[in-house]
Symmetry: D2
Subunit: 337 residues, 4 copies
């Protein structure tokens, strides 16, 4: 039988609630002992829907509870680093949503504290656990496509986020493309040498006015010579567009986007297949469950999660390099960051 792991959840926003629901369902062998959020109402609402007894505003109560073995951090980005440090100091294992911090030095500092405390840390790069992407990555590793030569990542939101979110997000490269940078490393299993990025403000002038871009093409150069292009847009009217392509010496592996249904209408216009899933929580539903299952298994076994602090740091450095490349209109070598 699987040992039950007792968890505290910090942050009762969209993603915090999702994790709390997954954790309290029973299937994962976990128990949520408390949900903290700066808004008590939010914490209570989440607690109620997950049948959790304790809803609080001060996360320190969770750290102080000896029954709690692990902390899941889903609060706003600027709280991640101090919470990581506090949880580590309390000897709790940690699952933390990405990014750890928008500042590289602050990130390193927090990760240092985690490392010194000897607790486990998993960073929330959930897409590695998506069944489609995980299968593609496994086939790449098994050599089905031979040696990878060109990787292509398509990552387009269906709709731009609210402007308030944009302003605090760190910008497209740190907020959105960071998932794709992690995916590139996950697929190619080597470290990027150099980054070139061009961004543009084509979707909504207000995003530009807020100092961000909404459209970008980033190219990554790897030591093996492999190249990776990532294209990002904040708006795809046909739905949330998440695709991968790994082209190699023996073939090409392609993960297409996933549709609501397999129903097609053939009429005068042609054959119309159903739209892709629109919303990231639907599209990546299974991945959130799978990453949490992995985290709990690591806690049980005391082994390091497959998505590590180093992965969090590496993706952040790539995002910073891409942003700098865009701003300075030149390729940026990773040893500059």
């Amino acid at each position: 039988m699987t040992r039950q792991v007792t968890v505290g959840v910090i942050g009762a926003g969209r993603i915090g609630r999702l994790h709390a629901e997954n954790l309290s369902r029973g299937a994962l062998g976990a128990k949520v002992a408390g949900i903290a959020d700066s808004s008590l109402a939010a914490a209570q609402a989440a607690a109620k829907s997950c049948q959790v007894d304790r809803a609080i505003t001060d996360a320190r109560e969770l750290f102080a509870d000896p029954a709690i073995e692990a902390i899941v951090i889903c609060s706003p980005t600027d709280t991640h680093a101090p919470l990581l440090e506090a949880a580590a100091a309390a000897g709790k294992h940690i699952f933390c949503e990405k990014p750890i911090d928008l500042d590289l030095e602050r990130t390193r500092q927090a990760l240092g504290a985690v490392q010194r405390a000897g607790v486990l840390l998993q960073v929330g790069f959930n897409r590695r656990f998506d069944p489609d992407f995980a299968r593609l990555a496994r086939l790449v590793r098994e050599g089905c496509a031979g040696t990878p030569e060109i990787v292509r990542i398509t990552s387009r939101d269906s709709q731009p986020p609210p402007l308030d979110y944009v302003r605090g997000s760190g910008g497209l490269f740190l907020d959105m493309a960071i998932h794709d940078f992690d995916m590139a490393r996950f697929l190619l299993r080597e470290e990027v040498v150099e980054v070139h990025a061009w961004g543009a403000n084509l979707v909504d002038p207000a995003i530009g006015a807020a100092g961000d871009v909404d459209t970008a093409v980033t190219t990554l150069r790897f030591p093996s010579g492999a190249l990776c292009t990532i294209d990002n847009s904040r708006r795809a009217v046909y739905g949330y567009d998440q695709r991968l392509e790994v082209f190699g010496s023996k073939g090409c592996l392609v993960a297409d986007h996933r549709a609501h249904t397999q129903v097609a209408l053939w009429d005068e216009r042609g054959r119309t297949l159903d739209r892709p899933l629109d919303f990231f929580l639907d599209r990546y539903r299974e991945s959130y469950l799978a990453e949490m299952r992995e985290f709990l298994d690591c806690v049980r076994d005391g082994r390091p999660p497959s998505v590590s602090a180093a992965d969090g740091l590496a993706a952040l450095r790539l995002a910073l390099a891409a942003r700098r490349s865009h701003v300075e209109c030149r390729p940026v070598r990773m040893d500059e960051v």
Copy 2:
């Protein structure tokens, strides 16, 4: 808030456990108050995995429990009719797996008892609730394909069932094609006039020796002139093949089968897309949840389920007509059955 419905489950086999798990998850607003199975061990195992307190061998305990509002019947087919009558006599609403009985007269008798008792009855034609098929049916009703003219149902198992199962199943037409007969009625919303079926024993001689066929093509003729072909096979090496096509005056609606993932490998052989889901419990997972949600909503609201006793009867009559057509090598008019 949704009112909680208290349910008793009879039968702790594969499908009984599935329903018990869905019902006890919380999301449906139900509570399983007991699980009965002729094997106490089976009842106990199911009860344990669903965190249900009562595991029993005698279903009568469930009928006698005034807290139980509804009964879910998942026991072997030959027990359905007496259980239906007993549950109806106890004033319980009933969800019953298909078929109600292999004998038409016995089916009518049991349904009469249900009707006289005034309880609700839903028959387990889960495929109507599959998201793909439900969407296709909705688009047909909305006229996207115009007036239906030719319907095509593909229904091929990935592997033949065990021979013991075959022997007690009533044969391919009553056991397997019955779902497709219900689907044809669901899509076309009219009653069949005449049935023609040819079966063959091509997959496994032992199935033939057991008196059954494993391959069949059935054609249905409807009053509007619309025609429906159903093809069935007990073995499709590429996976569980469940497809629909409704061709009409304004177009064609097609529900393709569903693959494990959206990953494709392009290599010397061509483009290889992932296999269809192999197992009916995976393929139709969402439909089982959705049909149970509908049943509970009907119990709460006291309204008749969309899949009625009449639907159960009609599908059985079609299955009997198809079997007779196959045996007598001639089309069979529905007024003969």
Copy 3:
């Protein structure tokens, strides 16, 4: 070098002109020595566009010309039999459009004359030469799908033919489905045991008034137990729909319809792929060239064409059996025809 074959073409309608153009292009190593049509204007127009010198109304001139080795018969169906006999008597090899005649006895008589004369005869079942269908048939023969169990032929015109054409066509089974009957035999390489057909008049009441159906589902039973369903409609608003599916013990081979282009639009409605080719002369363009190449090669080598008089006869018998099955509302055994 390929020896040039000198040919006379009878019939300057749509299909006659197509064959004349293919033959006079040079690529096939043929020379058209004359075109005959009951309308001199039609013969002249065809001759001009193909740069042929002789345009005549009396086909006997072609039979009398010793330079002409082969005759291509594309005139109306009711002239096929006498022209076959005359061409055979003149010692010419013959390519004849299907059907040879709508009457079985008359067909046998004409084929007897051909056989006695010892000339070669190829019947115009062009679809066997379509690159998609030919490849599928080859893969079936090579066993890629194992032993065939269920064959499915979809054959839907984009628009009904003119009523005048319908009246003289022999009806849907003899005019349209005859191609599909030939395809079933071509794919399964065995002779049909029994035929069941249901037709309906759903597309245009005028077709019904002319004594024909416009929608039909035919099922064929083969000695091996294999079953084949054919569905026909005179109208598919989304384009000319020609598809094959051969399901067998080791897999399933599918020939999808062919689109104008590989361009898709992804928008709010979903992913819309381009329409299938609408017109049979576009869809089967390559097949007409390939069947003529085969015919000329057979003439050069003195070997019997792969599509023989027996094939023409067999398809006709199937069409007659299907028509009778529809009229008499019962399956018809092939030994009855």
Copy 4:
């Protein structure tokens, strides 16, 4: 009636023969009055297969023939400029294969001569005339995808060319990607501002030893903010991979590659669709015919071809910029070239 245009063809290699065959077929309303090649044997072979009377080694004979209205230049790249000048001086209209010259100044000089002579010039960017790509471009112009934001061009050869060819080709950017640069301008209808390219030698070390790359990713930045990525490889084991994607404010237009047939095999491995066409002469067969039809129409009407000298120059400048970007490891602005 279409006026016949008399043409001389220079170069009897693969592409010269193709053009000569298309021109001599009759369908285009042209007549080939002579074929010149430095190898008399090659000229004679081409002339024979096209039924052309005159096979010569000295192209000047064609320029001197007053019956010849237009010259089609398909000889090696380094002969294009002098032949262009000589043809222009002789007052002939010119179709010239790309690139005009590998040197920008030499190209400008030759185009100047053409312009001064007032003759028409069409450059051989055949892909604009491919039915799939032409349709996609038309839909882009019609606004089906809204304002273009991200364009993606996939252009991968099935096999690397011979090393001798590589050595004289000007390298991947000038030889291969030049088609894609033209396509980017054709799709977006604006001029590139800046180019970034990274190349690698991953396919064959001998290509690297010859001073070339075999893998490249190029990004183009346009004044509107639109971005275009092009990926090139000299080897795709699954076939010649030519795809386009134009993502815009209202949707996404995608041109997929074209398969040999529409036949798929469904078996244990999944659904395997047929391979893409492997060879560029097959894949782009229709485009060669269509570009020549356009050229002849322009000659007849005295109107400038849609693919102009300026287009030839622009694509060359982009190729040079991309090569420089790759060599100097920095983005190159088009005003630098």
